[in-house]
Symmetry: C2
Subunit: 388 residues, 2 copies
Amino acid sequence: MQNFIFENPTRILFGQGTIARIGQETKRFGEKVLLVYGKGSIKRNGIYEQVLASLKEAGMDILELGGVKSNPVLSLALKGIEIAKKQNVELVLAVGGGSVIDTAKTIAAGVKADHDVWDFFTREKSIQDALPVLTVLTISASASEMNAAAVITREEEAKKYSSRSPFLQPKTSVLDPTVLYSLTPAYTAYSAVDAITHALEGYFNNAEFEDSTLQDRIVEGLIKTIMENTEIVLKNPKDYNGRANIMWAVTLAFNGLTTAGMGAVSFPAHMISHALSALCDTPHGAALSIVLPGWMTHTLAHDPRKYARLAREVFSVRENDDGKAAAEGVRMLKSWFASIGAPTSFRQGGIPETDIDRLAGNAFGLAQTWGLKDYTKDVISSILNLCK
Amino acid sequence: MQNFIFENPTRILFGQGTIARIGQETKRFGEKVLLVYGKGSIKRNGIYEQVLASLKEAGMDILELGGVKSNPVLSLALKGIEIAKKQNVELVLAVGGGSVIDTAKTIAAGVKADHDVWDFFTREKSIQDALPVLTVLTISASASEMNAAAVITREEEAKKYSSRSPFLQPKTSVLDPTVLYSLTPAYTAYSAVDAITHALEGYFNNAEFEDSTLQDRIVEGLIKTIMENTEIVLKNPKDYNGRANIMWAVTLAFNGLTTAGMGAVSFPAHMISHALSALCDTPHGAALSIVLPGWMTHTLAHDPRKYARLAREVFSVRENDDGKAAAEGVRMLKSWFASIGAPTSFRQGGIPETDIDRLAGNAFGLAQTWGLKDYTKDVISSILNLCK
């Protein structure tokens, strides 16, 4: 076990009917709220009305910023910062998935900064303050509802970069599993892929460190739960317990619990997948299902033991040789991704193989920002070649 | 999954060398600190000096209250409240295990109350404010370092009662696994028993509710980790990873994680064991290792399915019949308790069988306070008869 600091003060209101309580939660932090949301699906499925009713009942003064798209862009966040500054907004409420929450976090930090908010993402500056952020989660995947991270894309440079600060940690997040009933099969699959990748990047980060059975067991339990329940809700989208198990497991997969004690965790598969999203606008989960198996194949060659453990514990592989078991585990994970309809190749993701050089260059830029020195452009190219 | 609120803002500083940071942590909450500790073991193993050095370096003004014993008593907490009020103490620092932390919490709440602090334990009043509590953990067992509960005994009535409030949640807890090196084999065993019981009372609370595989897997992972590592440290008390795995697993076993989504969890085995502690001064962990197997035998008769799951997942029982598997699981748990030196009968705990009626009466008083209507004095007597 490595030394660690664990601190996660987000209050989670979980369950059917909890959206009605968001007004009272926001009221603790002020009266003027900026409501951030996406392309309008919340207006079609009734969530927008539920949120608005609760905010109004609590006497909140509401401003709105809609239009957040997946792979959220800096330009919209800048618009939000302008509105919030001009109108003296006191808190930001994200109603959406990771893209909406990360836009809200970027706005919250930007309002308190006297410089370009992008400086927080290039890591030139660190966040010193932010408006309170609250969330009503509508897509489970990023765990942004219970962590201190935000990811945003600067379109003109096609850079999808991340920032992290305790000030970005949501104060309250409302998780009502029934909002996931209307999630498409594709996004249900992408959510599972994203959460599994979060859990696995921590798990494999420690591939050479053998004493993390506590964290390993939690990760294995989360992955099994996500897999079982994704299969259930793909058959029956309104299975409450299926959606609830996924929703809570996905949050726990990236709220600091699984990585506490695992050392400095890096996220190379996420890093490479960000290039696919930045350059080809591949949805985040789809980019991950293409990249993760290739990245695993590349890294297990160095030391297959942890990969063999995954194969045995999660996929019930009964092979004694670690190398063979590890490879079989990757094959089974990839085949499970395919079974839930997530793309597992460039071809399936509609990405031309000729893009590999450009993608590697983009990911290499991020590797430098994140300080992942092992990830040269050549290494990234090799990995991408395993993802074709 | 049942609806739930999860909120656990305690900051955990975990690992070797972290005690040196307690001074800076306390400083965030004031300058005048009441340092609460036990019978002086911290003076023998050097922890007291480390804490004092860090507090002094941070410029803290230090008052002391030592002498907390296991099954901590109200009278000492009242003394602490008096000192803290008179001296305008701004925060309370517990350096010890659950007994010391719970005394510190009682003092912290009592300072802000204009009535008898015991009213919080009889549930006549609810806590509305408290001084900030911080902890340096020296015995892993109660998880009080990361939860909102406190248990205290009013000696003259022999009542061991509990209270719970977000105001009691520690602000920061320092968990340095090396402090456990000097823990005796008996207390190492009691710690394991206490944590396993915490995890299992939540697990069995939901015996009829089949959709808690996420929480069940976490509990099973924690228990396996605690068992494996207890065996390791009983052989080699200075095994760092063994102590570290136990320390973090024990905290996670009762910080709200395993019970989130499990409904209103009650703690009947704890309740009955409190009577043994209150009347016979049995150490908490020893009382639990006597009571838990008997309580399980009593309750599994109603529905053995969850008990059978435990037997199969944790004890690798390969029996298809749920009733038989469940009974075998209890037998194996009891035998594991015995193997680590924890008492598993009245005789081993030095409690006369003739005390059963008196013990049942005491536990029944607590059952009424806690609202556990199924636990009549007769039911409790039957359970105690299974623990002889």
